[in-house]
Amino acid sequence: MTRKRRRLYLLLLCGLGLGSATALTLTAFQDNLVFFRSPSDIAREAPPPGRAFRLGGLVEAGSVTREQAPDGRPSARFRVTDGPTTLTVTYTGVLPDLFREGQGVVALGRLGPDGVFRASEVLARHDETYMPPEVADALRRSGHWNPSQGAAPPAGNWNTMAPTASRSGS
């Protein structure tokens, strides 16, 4: 076998490897990219039905109720807020240790036809002062929190509270 021939084989093999990796990546991207949405985003534009996405915001104070799913499994229902909008979430499973009312939360799941978000996963964070960056961003976008002015206000009065300085100024 000549050198040229061998090089051709090698290049073909490498091209095949790279090509299949690219093709696989692109097709997998198409179905499996998970977008992040805040409750306000969803109110503005509902995501396509059946498509999984991540929902983030603060757990509204006093909104958590524990119930039992029809098959007897323990579940929880709570509301997630980013200020202007809230969204009801149901989750069947053990809530993470650091799940608290008034704290930032990120949940993975789908929006049901009744407008209730069915979480398949509620993300655990190992620090109680930790605010997921997407949630911080969503709160900033909704104009309810300016991170440079300190910690987020308690979620209990988010919906009744007068808009913060950043809004009244405009």
Partner: protein, 667 residues
Amino acid sequence: MIPELGHFALALAFALALAQSTLPLLGAHRAEPRLMAAAPALAAGQLLAVLAAFAALLWSFAVNDTSVLGVVQNSHSAKPLLYKLSGAWGNHEGSMVLWVTVLALCGGAVAAFGRELPSALQARVLAVLGMVAAGFLLFILLTSNPFARVWPAPADGQGLNPVLQDPGLAFHPPLLYLGYVGFSVTFAFAVAALIEGRVDAAWGRWVRPWALAAWSFLTLGIALGSWWAYYELGWGGYWFWDPVENASLMPWLAGTALLHSAIVVEKREALRIWTVLLAILAFGLSLLGTFLVRSGVLNSVHAFASDPMRGVFILALLMLYVGGGLALFGLRAGALSPTGLFAPISREGSLVLNNVLLCAIAAVVFVGTLYPMFADLLLGEKISVGPPFFDTAILPLAVPLVAAMAVGPMLSWKRARLWPVLQRLWWAALLAAGGALLCLALEGWRVGPVLGFAGGLWLVAGAAADILDRVALFRRRPFSPLAALRRAAGLPRAAWGAAVAHAGLGVTLLGLAGMGLAQERLVLLHPGESAALAGREYRLDAVRDVIGPNWTAREAQVTVLRDGRAALVLRPERRFFPVGRTTTSEAAIHTTWLADLYVVLGEERDGGAVLRLHHNPLAPWIWLGGAIMALGGGLSLSDRRMRVSAPVRAAPKGTGNGSRGEAVAGT
């Protein structure tokens, strides 16, 4: 006082590293033996200085010196000593000190064991290692001083994150770093070879032990991290395709490719350019891993307090080293003319296939890990890429890789025929098909487990077939196990190592396949009630309070019944750590080696407790396989040929540099 000494030792190490990165390079360029001989001495000096700094840091944590900021933020006097010490590297600053300590250890090892190297090569390798060390020492000194003081000193520290207080995680970072940093040595060898413009079989023989050692440690580190996630995080999962996990997987994939292509360089002097490139890439991916974890750019449970300055600095270092390495590669790779002819179907050909597939997988992981970051930066869109992406994109690449893995080692060098090899593997193929069919019959069509069982059995049986073939147990007449045993003892350890490592991956695949069949059940039980899962009854007896050294807990007593008889008692806990005001779940795990019974205690409500029951078939095999793979690496490493001192090159054929092969009297 001790922390100041540690800080001073770091500065001293930086100065020594600067000298180490320039003088030997100059010496090698001018062929001045005395300057070259300074390299091992400087490396030893740097090692001593860095060790002193590391010892000072450990001491500060051991005595809980609360005037040191790192101790205040990450330690507490009520912690057991092991976690006080592991707290030293459980934070950003300390872990960077560990990083340079491991790097200095590698430099010291090159200085100590590399006496058989041509002195110019050794000088250049140590110089490159010195450059890497200088960059990271400067990073520590400028942006993350581990010895920063606070005044007034608080009465006690704030404690280490409770999930990190675990023996598995005490050893996970050092092992991982041994792997990451080990690739800096192969990188240094690659750069030195590019400067010299020569890569030959001897170079391959010097690089391979380092690649092997780094790979073995990285394998152990990843397996340990995955095991920790399994038993400590309490989600019942072992791999989440979290960016930080991917950060360690990418260098592992590139390192695995490097390990295999270095074989071709050593045996056949082919694929030389490619191997040099891989060595640069493997180190680049290790640095990328460090950058991803340390800069806090990632939205992940591992993310440390983010500091843009640090991220920019590590990114600059990354560009400097990888960019510099690649630029040098572009300039000098032409000097390495391709050599070594081989047919597509040959041992070399199979190793090329291995490299192509491993690199393709690494590329997929790379894109999946970094794309969300770029999407955030460029498009302002918050995206995450989860397990489904990696599963669908990697599976089609992993299938041919595993299929070829059992065949490759049995092909002969240069030119081979596929059919005779396949004939010798017929029983492995039969076993694999049987496993897949059994899984199909019992569990129905589930892609992952079916392919996993087939692949795992294929690899284990293939490795066995390879060894049986080499010792000619069934081929020689008369049938004589004793003679075969003698031949087995005479086999090179590298052959054993390869077979063991391949079988180890097979064991891991079997474990993954078993976990694909895991069952889970979520129940609310009152004391005395029970729930069934996978043929067993789980009865909640009681929930009570427990007090530990630095935590209090609620502990459930769960009796597992089989056929109505009590088989064992599991005690899952929910621990509350008053110092950090955090709660963690301690899963109760009982392993039969064929399955794990895994119970997590959730919240308590209405006088009952929420329990999550898992039945995880073959789960321990995942990490057992990792340990077997690392063992294979170790076996291969103990091969006599790996030791450079082995009499393989009695007369150095160096004429290129004048100084090559000269006795290094100065060391």
